[in-house]
Protein backbone atom coordinates (compact mmCIF):
# COMPACT_ATOMS: atom_id res chain seq x y z
CA UNK A 1 0.00 0.00 0.00
CA UNK A 2 1.37 3.40 -0.94
CA UNK A 3 0.07 4.83 2.30
CA UNK A 4 1.76 8.21 2.18
CA UNK A 5 -0.82 10.94 2.53
CA UNK A 6 0.51 13.04 -0.28
CA UNK A 7 0.45 10.06 -2.63
CA UNK A 8 -3.18 9.48 -1.75
CA UNK A 9 -3.95 13.14 -2.34
CA UNK A 10 -2.31 12.94 -5.78
CA UNK A 11 -4.31 9.82 -6.56
CA UNK A 12 -7.57 11.37 -5.41
CA UNK A 13 -7.20 14.60 -7.34
CA UNK A 14 -5.61 12.95 -10.39
CA UNK A 15 -8.43 10.48 -10.90
CA UNK A 16 -11.08 13.13 -10.36
CA UNK A 17 -9.52 15.51 -12.84
CA UNK A 18 -8.99 12.91 -15.54
CA UNK A 19 -12.41 11.36 -15.06
CA UNK A 20 -13.88 14.78 -15.75
CA UNK A 21 -15.43 15.14 -12.30
CA UNK A 22 -13.23 18.21 -11.91
CA UNK A 23 -13.52 19.80 -15.37
CA UNK A 24 -11.01 22.07 -17.05
CA UNK A 25 -11.27 25.58 -15.70
CA UNK A 26 -12.58 24.43 -12.33
CA UNK A 27 -10.85 26.37 -9.57
CA UNK A 28 -10.09 24.96 -6.13
CA UNK A 29 -8.60 26.53 -3.03
CA UNK A 30 -5.85 24.87 -1.05
CA UNK A 31 -7.77 25.44 2.17
CA UNK A 32 -10.86 23.80 0.74
CA UNK A 33 -8.81 20.75 -0.26
CA UNK A 34 -7.39 20.54 3.25
CA UNK A 35 -10.90 20.26 4.66
CA UNK A 36 -12.06 17.89 1.97
CA UNK A 37 -9.17 15.43 2.23
CA UNK A 38 -8.60 16.04 5.95
CA UNK A 39 -4.90 16.63 5.55
CA UNK A 40 -2.58 19.50 6.30
CA UNK A 41 -1.48 22.26 4.02
CA UNK A 42 1.95 20.79 3.32
CA UNK A 43 0.44 17.56 2.02
CA UNK A 44 -1.89 19.44 -0.29
CA UNK A 45 0.90 21.69 -1.49
CA UNK A 46 3.22 18.81 -2.32
CA UNK A 47 0.44 16.99 -4.15
CA UNK A 48 -0.47 20.10 -6.13
CA UNK A 49 3.17 20.60 -7.09
CA UNK A 50 3.31 17.11 -8.57
CA UNK A 51 0.00 17.54 -10.39
CA UNK A 52 1.36 20.81 -11.71
CA UNK A 53 4.40 19.04 -13.16
CA UNK A 54 2.04 16.59 -14.86
CA UNK A 55 0.17 19.47 -16.47
CA UNK A 56 -3.07 18.70 -14.66
CA UNK A 57 -3.37 21.99 -12.75
CA UNK A 58 -1.84 25.42 -12.54
CA UNK A 59 -1.71 27.73 -9.56
CA UNK A 60 -2.27 31.45 -9.69
CA UNK A 61 -1.99 33.86 -6.84
CA UNK A 62 -5.22 35.37 -5.71
CA UNK A 63 -7.13 32.81 -7.83
CA UNK A 64 -6.33 29.33 -6.62
CA UNK A 65 -5.65 25.97 -8.21
CA UNK A 66 -7.10 25.74 -11.70
CA UNK A 67 -7.74 22.47 -13.52
CA UNK A 68 -6.13 22.43 -16.98
CA UNK A 69 -7.71 20.98 -20.16
CA UNK A 70 -6.66 17.52 -21.44
CA UNK A 71 -4.49 19.13 -24.12
CA UNK A 72 -2.13 20.21 -21.35
CA UNK A 73 -1.83 16.81 -19.66
CA UNK A 74 1.39 14.90 -20.16
CA UNK A 75 0.11 11.89 -22.13
CA UNK A 76 3.30 9.90 -21.56
CA UNK A 77 3.23 9.97 -17.78
CA UNK A 78 2.44 6.53 -16.44
CA UNK A 79 0.14 7.90 -13.75
CA UNK A 80 -1.83 9.89 -16.30
CA UNK A 81 -2.09 6.79 -18.47
CA UNK A 82 -3.26 4.71 -15.54
CA UNK A 83 -5.88 7.27 -14.58
CA UNK A 84 -7.13 7.47 -18.16
CA UNK A 85 -7.34 3.69 -18.37
CA UNK A 86 -9.57 3.80 -15.28
CA UNK A 87 -11.80 6.48 -16.79
CA UNK A 88 -14.43 6.60 -19.52
CA UNK A 89 -11.61 7.37 -21.96
CA UNK A 90 -10.20 3.88 -21.42
CA UNK A 91 -10.88 2.90 -25.01
CA UNK A 92 -9.23 6.02 -26.44
CA UNK A 93 -6.20 5.48 -24.20
CA UNK A 94 -5.84 1.87 -25.30
CA UNK A 95 -6.07 2.94 -28.92
CA UNK A 96 -3.41 5.61 -28.45
CA UNK A 97 -1.09 3.15 -26.78
CA UNK A 98 -1.69 0.52 -29.44
CA UNK A 99 -1.00 3.02 -32.22
CA UNK A 100 2.18 4.15 -30.52
CA UNK A 101 3.27 0.60 -30.02
CA UNK A 102 2.52 -0.32 -33.62
CA UNK A 103 4.66 2.60 -34.75
CA UNK A 104 7.54 1.94 -32.39
CA UNK A 105 7.98 -1.82 -32.29
CA UNK A 106 9.12 -2.33 -35.89
CA UNK A 107 11.68 0.45 -35.43
CA UNK A 108 12.76 -1.12 -32.14
CA UNK A 109 13.12 -4.52 -33.81
CA UNK A 110 15.32 -3.00 -36.48
CA UNK A 111 17.51 -1.27 -33.88
CA UNK A 112 17.66 -4.38 -31.72
CA UNK A 113 18.96 -6.38 -34.68
CA UNK A 114 21.72 -3.81 -35.05
CA UNK A 115 22.56 -3.06 -31.43
CA UNK A 116 21.20 -5.53 -28.90
CA UNK A 117 23.79 -7.21 -26.65
CA UNK A 118 24.33 -10.90 -27.30
CA UNK A 119 22.74 -12.28 -24.10
CA UNK A 120 19.55 -10.37 -24.79
CA UNK A 121 19.34 -11.84 -28.29
CA UNK A 122 19.65 -15.34 -26.91
CA UNK A 123 17.01 -14.74 -24.28
CA UNK A 124 14.70 -13.29 -26.90
CA UNK A 125 14.94 -16.46 -28.97
CA UNK A 126 14.33 -18.65 -25.94
CA UNK A 127 11.26 -16.65 -24.96
CA UNK A 128 9.89 -16.77 -28.51
CA UNK A 129 10.08 -20.55 -28.60
CA UNK A 130 8.65 -20.89 -25.10
CA UNK A 131 5.86 -18.60 -26.20
CA UNK A 132 5.11 -20.77 -29.20
CA UNK A 133 4.95 -23.86 -27.02
CA UNK A 134 2.71 -22.19 -24.47
CA UNK A 135 0.44 -21.04 -27.28
CA UNK A 136 0.21 -24.54 -28.75
CA UNK A 137 -0.65 -26.01 -25.38
CA UNK A 138 -3.30 -23.42 -24.58
CA UNK A 139 -1.50 -22.22 -21.44
CA UNK A 140 -3.05 -18.77 -21.59
CA UNK A 141 -1.60 -17.13 -18.45
CA UNK A 142 1.90 -18.34 -19.21
CA UNK A 143 1.53 -17.26 -22.81
CA UNK A 144 0.52 -13.74 -21.75
CA UNK A 145 3.48 -13.51 -19.39
CA UNK A 146 5.92 -14.63 -22.07
CA UNK A 147 4.31 -12.32 -24.61
CA UNK A 148 4.92 -9.33 -22.34
CA UNK A 149 8.48 -10.49 -21.72
CA UNK A 150 9.11 -10.89 -25.42
CA UNK A 151 8.02 -7.40 -26.31
CA UNK A 152 9.80 -5.95 -23.28
CA UNK A 153 13.05 -7.56 -24.35
CA UNK A 154 12.60 -6.34 -27.89
CA UNK A 155 12.00 -2.74 -26.81
CA UNK A 156 14.82 -2.91 -24.30
CA UNK A 157 17.18 -4.34 -26.90
CA UNK A 158 16.72 -1.33 -29.15
CA UNK A 159 19.07 0.67 -26.94
CA UNK A 160 16.66 3.59 -27.09
CA UNK A 161 15.58 4.44 -23.57
CA UNK A 162 12.33 5.99 -24.80
CA UNK A 163 11.36 2.81 -26.59
CA UNK A 164 12.38 0.76 -23.58
CA UNK A 165 10.23 2.89 -21.32
CA UNK A 166 7.12 1.92 -23.23
CA UNK A 167 7.40 -1.60 -21.78
CA UNK A 168 5.19 -0.83 -18.82
CA UNK A 169 2.50 0.70 -20.96
CA UNK A 170 2.68 -2.12 -23.46
CA UNK A 171 2.01 -4.56 -20.67
CA UNK A 172 -1.15 -2.58 -20.00
CA UNK A 173 -2.39 -2.93 -23.56
CA UNK A 174 -1.66 -6.66 -23.61
CA UNK A 175 -3.38 -7.36 -20.33
CA UNK A 176 -6.09 -4.94 -21.43
CA UNK A 177 -6.84 -7.23 -24.34
CA UNK A 178 -7.69 -10.09 -22.05
CA UNK A 179 -10.05 -7.85 -20.11
CA UNK A 180 -11.74 -6.97 -23.37
CA UNK A 181 -12.08 -10.66 -24.10
CA UNK A 182 -9.87 -10.32 -27.13
CA UNK A 183 -7.51 -13.15 -26.37
CA UNK A 184 -8.53 -16.47 -27.88
CA UNK A 185 -7.71 -19.63 -25.95
CA UNK A 186 -5.32 -20.65 -28.67
CA UNK A 187 -3.31 -17.73 -30.10
CA UNK A 188 -3.10 -17.42 -33.85
CA UNK A 189 -0.82 -20.06 -35.28
CA UNK A 190 0.89 -17.70 -37.72
CA UNK A 191 1.54 -15.04 -35.08
CA UNK A 192 3.37 -17.57 -32.93
CA UNK A 193 5.76 -18.34 -35.75
CA UNK A 194 6.16 -14.65 -36.57
CA UNK A 195 7.43 -14.01 -33.07
CA UNK A 196 10.01 -16.75 -33.53
CA UNK A 197 10.96 -15.25 -36.89
CA UNK A 198 11.47 -11.81 -35.39
CA UNK A 199 13.57 -13.20 -32.54
CA UNK A 200 15.80 -15.13 -34.92
CA UNK A 201 16.14 -12.18 -37.29
CA UNK A 202 17.27 -10.01 -34.37
CA UNK A 203 19.53 -12.80 -33.18
CA UNK A 204 21.37 -12.97 -36.49
CA UNK A 205 21.37 -9.18 -36.95
CA UNK A 206 19.02 -9.10 -39.92
CA UNK A 207 17.50 -5.66 -39.40
CA UNK A 208 15.23 -5.66 -42.44
CA UNK A 209 13.71 -9.05 -41.61
CA UNK A 210 13.27 -8.04 -37.97
CA UNK A 211 11.37 -4.91 -38.99
CA UNK A 212 9.21 -6.73 -41.49
CA UNK A 213 8.35 -9.49 -39.06
CA UNK A 214 7.46 -6.99 -36.39
CA UNK A 215 5.34 -5.02 -38.83
CA UNK A 216 3.46 -8.20 -39.68
CA UNK A 217 2.70 -8.81 -36.00
CA UNK A 218 1.64 -5.22 -35.45
CA UNK A 219 -0.60 -5.17 -38.53
CA UNK A 220 -2.45 -8.21 -37.32
CA UNK A 221 -2.73 -6.88 -33.76
CA UNK A 222 -4.10 -3.56 -34.97
CA UNK A 223 -6.70 -5.03 -37.33
CA UNK A 224 -7.86 -7.38 -34.57
CA UNK A 225 -8.31 -4.53 -32.08
CA UNK A 226 -9.47 -1.81 -34.45
CA UNK A 227 -13.18 -2.59 -34.34
CA UNK A 228 -13.31 -2.38 -30.54
CA UNK A 229 -12.62 1.35 -30.45
CA UNK A 230 -14.08 2.72 -33.65
CA UNK A 231 -16.71 4.48 -31.57
CA UNK A 232 -14.09 6.21 -29.39
CA UNK A 233 -13.93 9.93 -30.18
CA UNK A 234 -10.53 11.24 -31.22
CA UNK A 235 -8.99 14.22 -29.48
CA UNK A 236 -7.16 16.73 -31.64
CA UNK A 237 -4.58 18.72 -29.73
CA UNK A 238 -4.31 22.23 -31.14
CA UNK A 239 -0.89 23.35 -32.35
CA UNK A 240 0.62 25.77 -29.85
CA UNK A 241 2.42 28.66 -31.49
Amino acid sequence: MTSSLHQRAIENLGTRIISGELPAGHVMLAEQLEDELKVSRSVIREAVRVLQSLGLVETTKRVGIRVLPPSRWNPFDSQVIRWRLASDARGAQLRSLAELRAAVEPAAAELAAQNAPAPLRLELVDVAYAMRDAGHNGEVPRFLELDIQFHSLLLSGSGNEMFANLMGQVAETLTGRTVHGLMPDHPHEGALQWHVDVAEAISRGDAAAAREGSERIMRRTMTRMADTWTEQPRVFIPVRR
Copy 2:
Protein backbone atom coordinates in the same frame (compact mmCIF):
# COMPACT_ATOMS: atom_id res chain seq x y z
CA MET B 1 11.88 33.89 -15.63
CA THR B 2 10.10 31.29 -13.55
CA SER B 3 11.60 32.71 -10.42
CA SER B 4 9.73 30.61 -7.87
CA LEU B 5 12.16 29.20 -5.38
CA HIS B 6 10.80 25.72 -5.68
CA GLN B 7 11.14 25.79 -9.47
CA ARG B 8 14.73 26.90 -9.14
CA ALA B 9 15.43 24.11 -6.68
CA ILE B 10 13.99 21.57 -9.13
CA GLU B 11 16.10 23.04 -11.91
CA ASN B 12 19.25 23.03 -9.79
CA LEU B 13 18.92 19.44 -8.60
CA GLY B 14 17.54 18.13 -11.90
CA THR B 15 20.43 19.43 -13.97
CA ARG B 16 22.99 18.24 -11.45
CA ILE B 17 21.53 14.75 -11.29
CA ILE B 18 21.21 14.33 -15.04
CA SER B 19 24.63 15.81 -15.74
CA GLY B 20 26.08 13.14 -13.48
CA GLU B 21 27.43 15.60 -10.93
CA LEU B 22 25.14 13.84 -8.43
CA PRO B 23 25.62 10.19 -9.40
CA ALA B 24 23.17 7.35 -8.88
CA GLY B 25 23.27 6.14 -5.30
CA HIS B 26 24.40 9.50 -3.94
CA VAL B 27 22.47 10.30 -0.79
CA MET B 28 21.52 13.79 0.30
CA LEU B 29 19.81 15.09 3.40
CA ALA B 30 16.96 17.56 3.24
CA GLU B 31 18.66 19.75 5.83
CA GLN B 32 21.88 19.80 3.84
CA LEU B 33 19.97 20.91 0.73
CA GLU B 34 18.35 23.71 2.73
CA ASP B 35 21.76 25.07 3.63
CA GLU B 36 23.16 24.57 0.17
CA LEU B 37 20.34 26.26 -1.72
CA LYS B 38 19.55 28.71 1.08
CA VAL B 39 15.86 27.90 1.08
CA SER B 40 13.45 26.52 3.64
CA ARG B 41 12.31 22.98 4.20
CA SER B 42 8.99 23.45 2.44
CA VAL B 43 10.71 24.50 -0.77
CA ILE B 44 13.06 21.53 -0.65
CA ARG B 45 10.28 19.12 0.16
CA GLU B 46 8.11 20.27 -2.72
CA ALA B 47 11.04 20.11 -5.12
CA VAL B 48 12.00 16.62 -3.95
CA ARG B 49 8.41 15.45 -4.41
CA VAL B 50 8.47 16.55 -8.04
CA LEU B 51 11.88 14.98 -8.67
CA GLN B 52 10.52 11.83 -7.09
CA SER B 53 7.62 11.77 -9.54
CA LEU B 54 10.13 12.13 -12.38
CA GLY B 55 12.03 9.10 -11.12
CA LEU B 56 15.18 11.09 -10.37
CA VAL B 57 15.28 10.43 -6.62
CA GLU B 58 13.69 8.30 -3.96
CA THR B 59 13.32 9.09 -0.28
CA THR B 60 13.81 6.64 2.56
CA LYS B 61 13.34 7.27 6.23
CA ARG B 62 16.50 7.22 8.23
CA VAL B 63 18.57 7.32 5.01
CA GLY B 64 17.76 10.49 3.10
CA ILE B 65 17.19 11.41 -0.51
CA ARG B 66 18.88 8.94 -2.84
CA VAL B 67 19.68 9.68 -6.48
CA LEU B 68 18.30 7.01 -8.82
CA PRO B 69 20.09 5.57 -11.88
CA PRO B 70 19.19 6.77 -15.40
CA SER B 71 17.15 3.64 -16.02
CA ARG B 72 14.60 4.97 -13.54
CA TRP B 73 14.28 8.43 -15.07
CA ASN B 74 11.13 9.18 -17.02
CA PRO B 75 12.55 9.66 -20.53
CA PHE B 76 9.36 11.26 -21.86
CA ASP B 77 9.22 14.11 -19.39
CA SER B 78 10.00 17.36 -21.14
CA GLN B 79 12.11 18.64 -18.25
CA VAL B 80 14.19 15.47 -18.24
CA ILE B 81 14.64 15.79 -22.00
CA ARG B 82 15.67 19.41 -21.65
CA TRP B 83 18.18 18.59 -18.93
CA ARG B 84 19.63 15.75 -21.00
CA LEU B 85 19.93 18.03 -24.02
CA ALA B 86 21.96 20.40 -21.85
CA SER B 87 24.23 17.61 -20.62
CA ASP B 88 27.00 15.51 -22.13
CA ALA B 89 24.32 13.07 -23.25
CA ARG B 90 22.96 15.66 -25.66
CA GLY B 91 23.88 13.53 -28.66
CA ALA B 92 22.25 10.40 -27.26
CA GLN B 93 19.11 12.36 -26.42
CA LEU B 94 18.89 13.80 -29.92
CA ARG B 95 19.33 10.35 -31.40
CA SER B 96 16.58 8.91 -29.20
CA LEU B 97 14.22 11.70 -30.18
CA ALA B 98 15.07 11.33 -33.85
CA GLU B 99 14.49 7.58 -33.75
CA LEU B 100 11.18 8.07 -31.99
CA ARG B 101 10.16 10.68 -34.49
CA ALA B 102 11.18 8.51 -37.43
CA ALA B 103 9.02 5.71 -36.04
CA VAL B 104 6.02 7.86 -35.25
CA GLU B 105 5.69 10.31 -38.11
CA PRO B 106 4.79 7.82 -40.85
CA ALA B 107 2.12 6.34 -38.58
CA ALA B 108 0.88 9.84 -37.78
CA ALA B 109 0.75 10.70 -41.48
CA GLU B 110 -1.35 7.62 -42.15
CA LEU B 111 -3.73 8.45 -39.31
CA ALA B 112 -3.93 12.10 -40.33
CA ALA B 113 -4.96 11.04 -43.84
CA GLN B 114 -7.80 9.05 -42.26
CA ASN B 115 -8.88 11.34 -39.44
CA ALA B 116 -7.60 14.91 -39.65
CA PRO B 117 -10.27 17.63 -39.68
CA ALA B 118 -10.65 19.47 -42.98
CA PRO B 119 -9.22 22.86 -41.93
CA LEU B 120 -6.06 21.20 -40.69
CA ARG B 121 -5.59 19.42 -44.02
CA LEU B 122 -5.87 22.71 -45.88
CA GLU B 123 -3.42 24.44 -43.57
CA LEU B 124 -1.00 21.55 -43.96
CA VAL B 125 -1.01 21.95 -47.75
CA ASP B 126 -0.52 25.72 -47.47
CA VAL B 127 2.40 25.28 -45.12
CA ALA B 128 4.00 22.65 -47.37
CA TYR B 129 3.95 24.99 -50.37
CA ALA B 130 5.16 27.95 -48.32
CA MET B 131 7.94 25.71 -47.07
CA ARG B 132 8.95 24.79 -50.59
CA ASP B 133 9.05 28.45 -51.59
CA ALA B 134 11.08 29.44 -48.55
CA GLY B 135 13.48 26.58 -49.30
CA HIS B 136 13.92 27.67 -52.91
CA ASN B 137 14.60 31.23 -51.85
CA GLY B 138 17.11 30.26 -49.18
CA GLU B 139 15.09 31.89 -46.37
CA VAL B 140 16.55 29.62 -43.73
CA PRO B 141 14.87 30.97 -40.55
CA ARG B 142 11.45 31.06 -42.18
CA PHE B 143 12.01 27.59 -43.61
CA LEU B 144 12.85 26.22 -40.17
CA GLU B 145 9.75 27.81 -38.68
CA LEU B 146 7.51 26.38 -41.40
CA ASP B 147 9.22 22.99 -41.10
CA ILE B 148 8.36 22.84 -37.41
CA GLN B 149 4.82 23.95 -38.14
CA PHE B 150 4.42 21.32 -40.84
CA HIS B 151 5.46 18.45 -38.64
CA SER B 152 3.45 19.82 -35.72
CA LEU B 153 0.31 19.93 -37.83
CA LEU B 154 0.95 16.43 -39.09
CA LEU B 155 1.38 15.00 -35.61
CA SER B 156 -1.59 16.96 -34.32
CA GLY B 157 -3.74 15.80 -37.22
CA SER B 158 -3.24 12.17 -36.29
CA GLY B 159 -5.79 12.54 -33.51
CA ASN B 160 -3.46 10.62 -31.20
CA GLU B 161 -2.61 12.83 -28.23
CA MET B 162 0.65 10.97 -27.61
CA PHE B 163 1.83 11.65 -31.15
CA ALA B 164 0.69 15.25 -30.88
CA ASN B 165 2.64 15.68 -27.66
CA LEU B 166 5.88 14.93 -29.45
CA MET B 167 5.60 18.28 -31.23
CA GLY B 168 7.58 20.16 -28.64
CA GLN B 169 10.37 17.61 -28.62
CA VAL B 170 10.44 17.44 -32.39
CA ALA B 171 11.00 21.17 -32.49
CA GLU B 172 14.04 20.52 -30.34
CA THR B 173 15.50 18.02 -32.78
CA LEU B 174 14.90 20.32 -35.73
CA THR B 175 16.44 23.37 -34.09
CA GLY B 176 19.12 21.05 -32.74
CA ARG B 177 20.12 20.24 -36.32
CA THR B 178 20.91 23.85 -37.02
CA VAL B 179 23.09 24.00 -33.94
CA HIS B 180 24.94 20.96 -35.17
CA GLY B 181 25.44 22.73 -38.49
CA LEU B 182 23.40 20.12 -40.28
CA MET B 183 21.08 22.45 -42.12
CA PRO B 184 22.30 23.42 -45.58
CA ASP B 185 21.47 26.89 -46.84
CA HIS B 186 19.30 25.39 -49.52
CA PRO B 187 17.30 22.39 -48.30
CA HIS B 188 17.31 19.29 -50.43
CA GLU B 189 15.19 19.80 -53.53
CA GLY B 190 13.56 16.38 -53.35
CA ALA B 191 12.68 16.72 -49.67
CA LEU B 192 10.80 19.93 -50.38
CA GLN B 193 8.61 18.18 -52.92
CA TRP B 194 8.17 15.19 -50.62
CA HIS B 195 6.66 17.45 -47.98
CA VAL B 196 4.19 18.76 -50.55
CA ASP B 197 3.40 15.18 -51.59
CA VAL B 198 2.70 14.14 -48.00
CA ALA B 199 0.48 17.16 -47.42
CA GLU B 200 -1.55 16.49 -50.53
CA ALA B 201 -1.82 12.78 -49.79
CA ILE B 202 -3.20 13.62 -46.35
CA SER B 203 -5.44 16.24 -47.89
CA ARG B 204 -7.07 13.73 -50.23
CA GLY B 205 -7.17 10.98 -47.59
CA ASP B 206 -4.63 8.71 -49.28
CA ALA B 207 -3.26 6.98 -46.18
CA ALA B 208 -0.80 4.70 -47.96
CA ALA B 209 0.77 7.53 -49.96
CA ALA B 210 0.95 9.72 -46.85
CA ARG B 211 2.79 7.01 -44.95
CA GLU B 212 5.17 6.27 -47.80
CA GLY B 213 5.98 9.92 -48.36
CA SER B 214 6.62 10.44 -44.66
CA GLU B 215 8.82 7.34 -44.56
CA ARG B 216 10.85 8.77 -47.41
CA ILE B 217 11.40 12.02 -45.53
CA MET B 218 12.31 10.20 -42.33
CA ARG B 219 14.74 7.84 -44.08
CA ARG B 220 16.59 10.77 -45.57
CA THR B 221 16.62 12.68 -42.29
CA MET B 222 17.95 9.69 -40.39
CA THR B 223 20.72 8.88 -42.85
CA ARG B 224 21.80 12.51 -42.85
CA MET B 225 22.00 12.66 -39.07
CA ALA B 226 23.23 9.14 -38.37
CA ASP B 227 26.95 9.84 -38.68
CA THR B 228 26.81 12.65 -36.11
CA TRP B 229 26.00 10.32 -33.22
CA THR B 230 27.61 7.03 -34.09
CA GLU B 231 30.06 7.60 -31.27
CA GLN B 232 27.28 8.12 -28.69
CA PRO B 233 27.06 5.13 -26.34
CA ARG B 234 23.70 3.39 -26.19
CA VAL B 235 22.00 2.77 -22.88
CA PHE B 236 20.21 -0.53 -22.44
CA ILE B 237 17.47 -0.41 -19.86
CA PRO B 238 17.19 -3.76 -18.06
CA VAL B 239 13.82 -5.48 -18.17
CA ARG B 240 12.12 -5.14 -14.78
CA ARG B 241 10.34 -8.27 -13.68
